[in-house]
C-alpha cells in the first residue's frame, strides 16, 4: 500500500490521497472494497455489479457454482483479469481507500501489494527452491542482503522451512505437489503483500496436502487479508471467517461463515449450501 501510495504521490502531486498513510500497526492495512465491479471477456459479462468488502485480519471464502464469476472477480483485485486478451473491468477496487484502477497507478505495484496463488502449483522450473521464493524480490530489484532473509522468512511463514532447509538449492519442481503449492505461497509472501488471493489453491492436491494449506491459511490471515475462491464448501467452512456466495456474476449473499452455512438470508444460498444445485 505504501508502495502504491508513494507512486500516486509521485505521479499526481496535486491529487490529495485524502487518507492519511496508514502504518501497519494492529494490521489495519489490506482492506479491500469493491464498488460496482463489472468484468467482461469480450462481450461476455462475467461479473455484474459486485459491491462488497474484504476486511483485514480475516479470511473470506468465495463460493458458487462453476462459471459464476468468482475467479474473475478475484482476478480483478490484482488486475490479473486484464491480462486476458479482450478482457476489461469497470467499477472500483479500493485498497485501503485507494482505487487500484486509477490510471496513475502502476499495475506492477498493485500486484506486489496483492499477491496471488493459483489452482495448480506453478513454481518456476529453472529455479531452485530458494530461487523460487526470492524470485519476486530479485526480479523486482530488492537489495541483496534483504533477499536471503526475506526468502527464509517466507519459507518459515509458509510452513515449508523444515521440509526444505536442507535442499534450498534443489529444483523447486522436485518437491511434492503440496510442497510446491506452499512454495508458491512462500513466493507470494516474500514480497510482503497486504492481500493474498487464492484461486482454488487446493484443487490439485490430495487431502493431506489440502489440510496442511488450510492450517496455513489460519496462520496467515493474521498477517495478510486472505481471499480464497473454493469449490469445496467444507473448505470454506473450515478456513473462512466470512463467506461470499455468488451466482451468475452477482453477489447473492455475504456473511459470517457459520451463519451463511446454517441460516442464510437468501433462499438461493440455502439451496446451494444444502446441495440442491451447483
Amino acid at each position: 500500500m505504501r508502495l502504491i501510495a508513494r507512486q500516486v504521490e509521485q505521479r499526481l502531486p496535486s491529487t490529495p490521497t485524502s487518507e492519511p498513510r496508514r502504518e501497519p500497526q494492529g494490521r489495519d492495512v489490506g482492506n479491500v472494497e469493491l464498488k460496482g465491479l463489472h468484468a467482461y471477456y469480450g462481450s461476455n459479462h462475467a461479473v455484474r455489479g459486485v459491491s462488497l468488502g474484504f476486511d483485514s485480519g480475516g479470511a473470506t471464502a468465495i463460493i458458487g457454482p462453476s462459471g459464476c464469476g468468482k475467479s474473475t472477480m478475484v482476478r480483478c483485485i490484482n488486475r490479473m483479469h486484464e491480462e486476458v486478451a479482450g478482457a476489461r473491468a469497470e467499477g472500483e477496487v479500493l485498497l485501503d481507500g485507494l482505487d487500484l484502477y486509477n490510471p496513475a497507478i502502476d499495475v506492477v505495484a498493485v500486484r506486489r501489494t496483492v499477491g496471488m496463488v493459483f489452482q495448480r502449483p506453478n513454481p518456476f522450473p529453472t529455479m531452485s527452491v530458494i530461487g523460487n521464493v526470492t524470485a519476486g524480490l530479485r526480479l523486482t530489484g530488492a537489495g541483496k542482503g534483504e533477499i536471503e532473509d526475506r526468502g527464509r522468512e517466507a519459507l518459515v511463514g509458509a510452513g515449508l522451512w523444515d521440509e526444505v532447509k536442507d535442499r534450498l538449492e534443489a529444483p523447486g519442481t522436485g518437491l511434492s505437489g503440496g510442497q510446491q503449492q506452499r512454495l508458491c505461497i512462500a513466493r507470494a509472501l516474500a514480497v510482503e503483500p497486504e492481500v493474498l488471493l487464492m484461486d482454488e489453491p487446493c484443487s490439485a492436491l490430495d487431502p493431506v496436502a489440502t489440510l496442511r494449506i488450510e492450517e496455513l491459511i489460519g496462520e496467515l490471515k493474521e498477517r495478510v487479508t486472505i481471499v480464497i475462491v473454493t469449490h469445496n464448501m467444507q473448505q470454506a467452512a473450515r478456513v473462512a471467517d466470512t463467506t461470499v456466495f455468488m451466482l451468475d456474476g452477482q453477489l447473492v449473499e455475504i456473511g459470517p461463515t457459520d451463519k451463511l452455512f446454517t441460516n442464510p438470508d437468501d433462499e438461493r444460498t440455502e439451496q446451494y449450501v444444502t446441495g440442491k444445485f451447483g
Binding site: R111, F118, G136
Partner: protein
C-alpha cells in the same frame, strides 16, 4: 469386419514402408558417402589447404576455416534477430500482427536459396567483388526463418501459468520474459539455433554466387571470398580427375558428419527443454 481389418492392415503396412523408405534414404546417402569418402579422409586432408591446380594431394583446411567463418557470421546475425522476432510475436505482439509475421517467415523459409543468393549478389557483390560476408548475409537470410519459427514453437510451449505467476508477483513483463520464459525454453531455443546452423552449413547456391573466387591457402578475411566445404564438394566433383572425386566424397563426409552431430545435439537440448516444461 474382414474388410475393415484388411483396410487397417493396408494402411499400417503402407505407412510402415514409407517410414522405412525415409530411413533407408538417409542410410544410403550417409552410407555411400561414408564408403566413398572414408578412403581419402585423413588428418592430412583436414589440416592441409587445397592443392594448386594440377598438383595432387591437398586437403580442405581452407574450406573448413572458410565455412566456419561464413556460417559463424551468418549465425551471429540470424540467431539474435530470429530469437527477438520469436519473442516479439509470442510475448508482445497482438495476434493480428503475430500471425502475418509467422506467415512471412514461412514464405521466407520457402524462398529458393538461389534467389536469396541473387538478391544479395545484386545488393552487395554487383559492381563490387565477392566476399565471405556477402555469403554470410545470404545464409543469415536462409537461417532467420528457421531459427525464428522453431523459437516461436518452443516459446509457445512454455506453460502460460508460469507467465501468470511472474505477472502476479509484480515482475515487469520484459523481465518475466527474460528471466522466466526464455530460461524455461532455453533448450528448445538452442535446438532452433543449431538446426538453423545445420541447415545453412551445407547451403551451396548462394556460395556459388557470393564466395567462389578465392585465393590459394587458408584465409580468414571475411571481406574477401573464402573457400567453403560445400563449394569444395561442388568444384571437386566437377573435376575430371578421379582423385578429386574421392576428395569430394571425403569433404562431403566431413560436412554430413558435422550436420548429423548438430542434429543429435539439437535433439538432446530439445528433450531437456520438454522435460522441463512438462515436469
Amino acid at each position: 469386419m474382414r474388410r475393415r481389418n484388411r483396410l487397417n492392415r493396408t494402411v499400417e503396412l503402407s505407412s510402415t514402408v514409407a517410414a522405412m523408405l525415409a530411413v533407408a534414404v538417409l542410410l544410403i546417402v550417409v552410407g555411400s558417402v561414408l564408403l566413398k569418402g572414408m578412403g581419402a579422409l585423413s588428418l592430412h586432408f583436414l589440416t592441409t589447404p587445397t592443392a594448386l591446380f594440377g598438383e595432387s594431394g591437398g586437403g580442405i583446411s581452407n574450406a573448413i576455416v572458410g565455412s566456419a567463418i561464413i556460417v559463424g557470421i551468418a549465425a551471429a546475425m540470424a540467431i539474435p534477430v530470429g530469437l527477438l522476432v520469436a519473442v516479439y510475436t509470442t510475448e508482445f505482439a497482438p495476434p493480428r500482427i503475430a500471425q502475418p509475421v509467422r506467415f512471412v517467415l514461412d514464405v521466407l523459409n520457402g524462398v529458393p536459396t538461389i534467389i536469396t543468393g541473387v538478391f544479395v549478389y545484386g545488393l552487395m557483390v554487383a559492381g563490387n567483388q565477392q566476399s565471405a560476408f556477402a555469403a554470410s548475409v545470404a545464409l543469415a537470410i536462409v537461417m532467420l526463418p528457421i531459427v525464428a519459427r522453431t523459437a516461436q514453437e518452443v516459446l509457445a510451449l512454455v506453460p502460460p501459468t508460469l507467465k501468470e505467476a511472474a505477472h502476479a508477483l509484480g515482475i515487469a513483463r520484459w523481465r518475466g520474459t527474460l528471466r522466466v520464459t526464455i530460461p524455461t525454453a532455453a533448450g528448445g531455443l538452442i535446438t532452433g539455433a543449431l538446426l538453423g546452423v545445420a541447415r545453412v552449413a551445407g547451403e551451396t547456391a548462394p556460395i556459388l554466387l557470393l564466395s567462389s573466387i578465392y585465393g590459394q591457402g587458408v584465409h580468414t578475411d571475411p571481406t574477401q571470398a573464402l573457400a567453403s566445404i560445400p563449394f569444395f564438394v561442388f568444384q571437386s566433383s566437377e573435376s575430371p580427375s578421379p582423385a578429386a572425386h574421392t576428395q569430394a566424397w571425403a569433404a562431403a563426409l566431413v560436412l554430413i558428419a558435422f550436420i548429423l552431430a548438430l542434429n543429435i545435439v539439437a535433439r538432446a537440448f530439445y528433450a531437456r527443454s520438454r522435460r522441463r516444461m512438462e515436469g
